[in-house]
């Protein structure tokens, strides 16, 4: 999106396209020097009359028929050179390529021009730097953008991209300084973008910590069936702390760890505790990315062990002409636990594994479209859970939608999905029914930056569960508000 306005900036000043073809001339199978001379004369005539495009056609034909014709080559070269300073067709074409996301083409067009000139013109340096940045060639992009930053006309967009480069490398201080340079003197649109990025830089550090306090309401804590009356609603409160460590910035290795406590006012048996951590590696090439991650989660319910899970996940994104393709696969070993109750309900300390423990496999494909305010993503996800009992194993799948919109100091996230779940065997008991559920889930989150490292969040969502077993038909609505503290430590 930033490339788009940088393009617009250049395009506004770019001259109209001219029709001189300066590409390589392929020789004719048979040389014809007499005809080549005639073409040369015609080309000279056209050039004298001020028609360089037609003259170039004639000179090219002269070269094709007589590749050794130095005059024809010299004249064509003259025409191409004469066009360069004012016409800048190369820059115009490269700007178009950048706008349409064809960064490789832009680099190919601008590279020779950038390298050939000791002091490349600012437009070339800026476009070249943007293209290299998008391709993930950060060192070369840095050099070109620094060159563009030296010129008044391209200083502001160059500063934005230098800030983005710093952000990518995890140097939030340098990023913020670059964005601040834009803030001082750019157009309002550019200035607003720089302010947004500056706020982002404050959160993006190599080592960042975050703490959150929240309170809210859950209308159906225990998924009480609709047919049995109103659900068991309860107020909730809790907090969360997490830390993210990315020694090389957005790319490369990372590790995250966190803990969460969420208590319910009345139903203590659903009080939730979570501790988890993940470590992974993120590989980026331009807009394309691939990430591999290992994660471990431990959950307690009512302060008793409930779930321990090891997970391996691989996910990636790939830019294609019509959008951004995404994919994810993961495998998780889930162990559900139960603390054996002794006499008088006092735990005897023995932890047993529940029969519904087992592996879970996930796969997701998605296609997304990014625009200036954010991204819209359509996805399809499937999940298979196996356990010791077939009736406690299931397969589910369904479509979903995810939308993220980021404005100056606020963000909105919408998530909606439909899931059809089929258990793999009938549950023993009356009816001998194979359970089939359908879930409609929806959630919307809103986040507003407050002063300094503080921000405020609001979340609302719900689920409607349908099932061929009436006891599993339920409705749940929830909402919460929170205060978040985020700070970069390094």
């Amino acid at each position: 999106m930033i490339a788009a306005w940088a393009w617009a900036l250049l395009w506004a000043a770019a001259p109209g396209a001219k029709g001189i073809d300066c590409s390589k001339v392929e020789p004719a199978p048979v040389a014809d020097k007499a005809a080549a001379r005639a073409y040369l004369e015609v080309g000279d005539g056209e050039r004298r009359q001020g028609n360089p495009e037609t003259a170039a056609v004639a000179f090219r034909e002269a070269i094709r028929l007589d590749p050794s014709s130095a005059p024809a080559r010299a004249r064509l070269l003259d025409l191409c050179r004469a066009e360069e300073p004012e016409g800048d067709e190369v820059v115009s074409r490269a700007a178009r390529a950048v706008e349409e996301g064809r960064y490789e083409e832009a680099v190919a067009l601008l590279g020779p021009r950038y390298r050939a000139k000791g002091q490349a013109d600012p437009s070339t340096a800026l476009l070249y730097g943007i293209s290299l940045y998008e391709r993930g060639e950060d060192a070369a992009a840095q050099e070109a953008l620094e060159r563009a930053q030296q010129s008044e006309e391209t200083r502001d967009p160059a500063s934005v991209f230098l800030g983005l480069l710093a952000l990518r490398s995890g140097d939030s201080e340098r990023a913020e300084a670059q964005f601040a340079r834009v803030d001082r003197g750019a157009s309002s649109e550019l200035s607003a973008t720089a302010r947004e990025l500056s706020a982002l830089a404050r959160r993006n550090a190599r080592l960042a910590v975050s703490m959150q306090a929240e309170g809210g309401y859950d209308s159906n804590v225990d998924q009480f069936p609709d047919q049995a009356g109103s659900g068991t609603g309860d107020f909730l409160y809790g907090g969360m702390a997490s830390a993210l460590f990315r020694p090389l910035g957005e790319r490369g290795p990372y590790a995250v760890a966190g803990a969460r406590l969420r208590n319910l006012q009345q139903f203590g048996e659903y009080d939730l505790g979570w501790v988890g951590g993940a470590a992974g590696y993120r590989l980026e090439l331009g807009q394309n990315q691939l990430r591999v991650e290992y994660a471990y989660d431990q959950i307690w319910l009512d302060f008793q062990p409930f779930l321990g899970a090891h997970q391996i996940q691989l996910d990636g994104r790939l830019e294609v002409p019509f959008g951004r393709l995404g994919g994810l696969v993961s495998a998780r070993a889930e162990t559900y636990s139960r603390l054996e109750q002794g006499v008088n309900g006092i735990g005897n300390g023995e932890v047993k594994t529940e029969q519904y423990s087992g592996p879970t496999f996930d796969a997701e494909v998605s296609v997304g479209w990014a625009g200036s305010p954010g991204e819209l993503r359509l996805l399809y996800r499937g999940e298979l859970h196996r356990s010791q009992k077939e009736e406690l194993s299931w397969l589910d799948h369904g479509p979903g939608l995810r939308a993220v919109a980021a404005f100056s100091s606020r963000r909105v996230l919408v998530d909606a999905r439909v899931t059809a779940r089929t258990h793999l065997a009938a549950e023993p008991g009356p009816g001998n029914v194979v359970r089939q559920d359908t879930y409609l889930d929806g959630a919307i989150s809103f986040e507003q930056d407050l002063v300094g490292p503080l921000s405020f969040s609001l979340t609302a969502g719900g689920r409607k569960a349908f099932s061929n077993v009436p006891n599993f038909v339920y409705t749940r609505l929830y909402g919460s508000a929170g205060l978040i503290f985020t700070a970069g430590l390094w």
């Binding site: 029709g19 080309g43 034909e61």
Partner: protein, 202 residues
Amino acid sequence: MPRLLTLILASTLLAASGPAEEHLLQGARAFRTGRYAEALVEFKVAEKLGAGPDARAYAAASLVKLNRPEEAVELFGPKASADPVLEFYRALACYQARLFTCADRALEAAMGRFGPRVVEEARTIRAQIHQTLAGEIQPQVIDWYLSRGGDAVQGGRTGLGRLYAEEARALGGRRKDCYRCAEADALLAKAKAAAAASEARR
């Protein structure tokens, strides 16, 4: 229209051979596919290689397509073409160069030889010309033609100067006061003399 030109060219050239004809044919192909700059170059090369006056007229037709009417009218020359299609292009060149009486005369003379589609276009153009010339011709209009013609003769473009002078004379003659008719006649004579001198030097 381009297809017509190509057919004419092809019929006359299919049996022909030789480098000039080959370039004429290439020019016709380029013209048909809308590559007028290439067509122009090919026709000019054909002319240089001895293809005769037709190549020059075809080059002029390409110039019309390239929106270079002054060069086109120069290349066509003052004489009517025997080929009705080329004559239509000559009229178009005159019209684009604001040589309205030149265009009207050419269209009127060739009207009987045009095919049905060209006739329709010719009628439309003539109607537009008559509408343009319907009111009284303002003196500054005639001034413009004389100035343009004078510059052309001065610059050695005697053919073009002659056409502008003729236009100025024709338009001046439409006024009761025959505005600057004598000057137009003088410019015409000067252009003719310069053309004759140029011819003699060759």
